[in-house]
Symmetry: C2
């Protein structure tokens, strides 16, 4: 066998995939499983988007688009920023990508030389660390907790700054915590990076999914910020694999060339379908769904707290609750396995999001119906009673 590159050994698998596989086995054998581990909305793609996709298919839109995406779609994204967020973003600064994965990969490839550091939060979305490793960057994970709202705050970033810091990567709303960065925090992070000659990359893939909190964009705080976004979560287009990247104007031409090399272009049908994502009809559907997510959160959060899960910061976005389960178990990974086998409830163990107090945490995703959430909570209650 040909020898493997060193990076291959450094890419950590997602433990939840094994749990998911086991859950599917149990289901195949007749068991009912409540899925609270899935990072994907349970809703179908909104009908106007599906209809636009069908129309594109009928019109024979099956050839390549330009590497940075359809001009009409980049204009539509720009219009969305203006209308919803009051921010002017030149369409030339927008690249349409195959999912947010493609967007983050472009940004990291453009910014991170081998051996340079990328500061990010622990816990955080696991692919981020792995994509930094792929460009031979060095992950500088900063432990965050309840005191910081589970976010890489300006204070933490300044305190952990190193000479080799090339970029800061933050997410708002964040996975796994569902917490947000405030306007003030984003402005300060942008200023910090600007002053120290590093890049600020903001992952906004859960943008739009906020509850009780203001829905904002980091693009309001400077034209030198890299923003990653996606049609997957808020717009309900996961399997269409479509996202976008906003870059400083100076980077647009080079990233167009990089995109040509990395993926040629995002899918053509997906792009045509996404043109319907910003219509009033779609927006009304998405607002309804946001309300549904809010109801689920408003049920699940107090129910879990009552069961003994510690969720000290109220999550105001995305569809996740990151819960400290120290009062219930000494090992959240083993706890997740037992919950699946014995109670038929699937969760994501903290270990998938980093190392910092990972064994004390689990993530709940409310990407299933209120009825399923109620059943899940009831199963948890019985499991914990039996255990006590």
């Amino acid at each position: 066998m040909p020898p493997r590159a060193a990076r291959l050994g450094d890419i950590r698998p997602f433990h939840v995939m094994r749990l998911l596989e086991r859950a599917r086995e149990l289901e195949a054998s007749g068991r009912n499983i409540v899925h609270l581990e899935i990072g994907e909305p349970d809703f179908a793609t909104p009908q106007p988007i599906v209809a636009a996709g069908r129309q594109a298919l009928e019109d024979g839109r099956v050839h390549y688009t330009p590497a940075r995406g359809l001009a009409t779609l980049r204009q539509a994204v720009s219009g969305y920023y203006r209308e919803r967020y009051g921010v002017d973003v030149d369409p030339n600064r927008i690249l349409i990508t195959p999912g947010a994965s493609g967007a983050l990969q472009l940004a990291l490839a453009a910014l991170v030389d081998p051996g340079m550091g990328v500061m990010l939060s622990d816990p955080g979305y696991p692919c981020n660390r792995n994509l930094v490793r792929l460009v031979e960057g060095v992950v500088r994970a900063v432990p965050v907790g309840a005191a910081d709202g589970y976010q890489l705050t300006p204070e933490l970033a300044a305190a952990h700054w190193r000479a080799d810091t090339a970029a800061l990567l933050v997410a708002t709303p964040a996975n796994p915590s569902g917490t947000l960065l405030s306007r003030a925090a984003l402005a300060e992070l942008a200023e910090l990076c600007r002053n120290r000659g590093a890049a600020l990359i903001v992952d906004e893939i859960y943008q739009g999914l906020t509850y009780d909190a203001e829905d904002i964009t980091a693009l309001a705080f400077g034209e030198d910020i890299f923003v990653i976004n996606s049609f997957s979560k808020f717009f309900g287009m996961t399997g269409w694999r479509l996202g976008w990247l906003v870059v400083p104007a100076d980077y647009a031409a080079d990233l167009d060339v990089l995109a040509q090399n990395l993926f040629l272009a995002a899918g053509t049908l997906s792009q045509h379908a996404a043109l319907a994502a910003f219509s009033p009809e779609t927006r009304a559907i998405l607002e309804q769904r946001r309300e549904t997510f809010r109801q689920r959160r408003d049920f699940l959060l107090p129910a879990l707290r009552e069961l003994g899960f510690d969720i000290p910061v109220t999550p105001e976005g995305a569809f996740y609750l990151y819960a400290n389960c120290r009062a219930l178990t000494g090992n959240s990974f083993e706890f997740s396995q037992r919950l699946l086998e014995e109670a038929g409830v699937a969760l994501t163990p903290g270990i998938d999001f980093g190392d910092h107090r990972a064994g004390e945490h689990v993530r709940f995703a409310y990407t299933t119906s209120l009825e399923a959430l109620e059943e899940g909570v009831e199963r948890l209650r019985r499991f914990l009673c039996g255990q006590a």
Copy 2:
């Protein structure tokens, strides 16, 4: 502005993109342009594939698939290898990817440590060089010409071998030359890599598009070979962005994890649509199209030779002719620009495929109708007469 990573400056743009942009400008101003530069079939996606895509849309297949792709599609690809090529390939060795770009990126990330060499041919497909650069590998371009059939032969590979060679990347049929590697050459290349502890990566994205020559796969020559393929060219699914990668069994699990990180999964609709790519109905359409490509080649090749283009090796695959134009011009890039402006014919200059005698070559793509090819040849004839 945050500083750029060094690699960004090393990624070369495709010159043909500027020519294409200029061609669009000319068209917008009313000029008619014959496009002989486009590396994409002019045919629509075959109707059975479109119908399967439409059905998947109606069935609401819009959520993520597993990272390595639908099990049914991996089985279908395996069945295709067995039936058409007589080679057994375990579906577990097959990963479905977002285009061949995703497949090549996976393979290079898995095999090439920073500073290690990847040997490939000059001329060759330009993204290959850039993707090697992206993983911090070193491109070892081997000049090839008519004597080698424009291919990195076993003899050339052995002669250019270096201590740091981690992988050999060959393509059959090749872009830009349209030439093939024989069974014997593939077997020898596999043996060479095996003996020297390097990986053989074979780009087969034009597989199926061969004329007068045997249609083969490198997978017949060992289970340690990495093969890249695509639904874009032969199957007519460019804008669907779907390809696949075959890996040695030992690599399958790690590459599944890498795929999760790099792109989560290929597009869901595209995968469901592609299930119809291997049906007898689709295959009949594809065979007709292959015959059409052959007719175009059989017209264009002698016509260009008659005009003074030197094409010493008859291209037996893909849809390209790589022509030496030294008898007609001293600078193929300037020649391409003048041809576009003065004759309304768009070609790809040799410089897009490497450095070796690039200024003496242009690439013709026969991805347009026989009528357009005839018109293109007539315009070339008039242009060359006027020039003489």
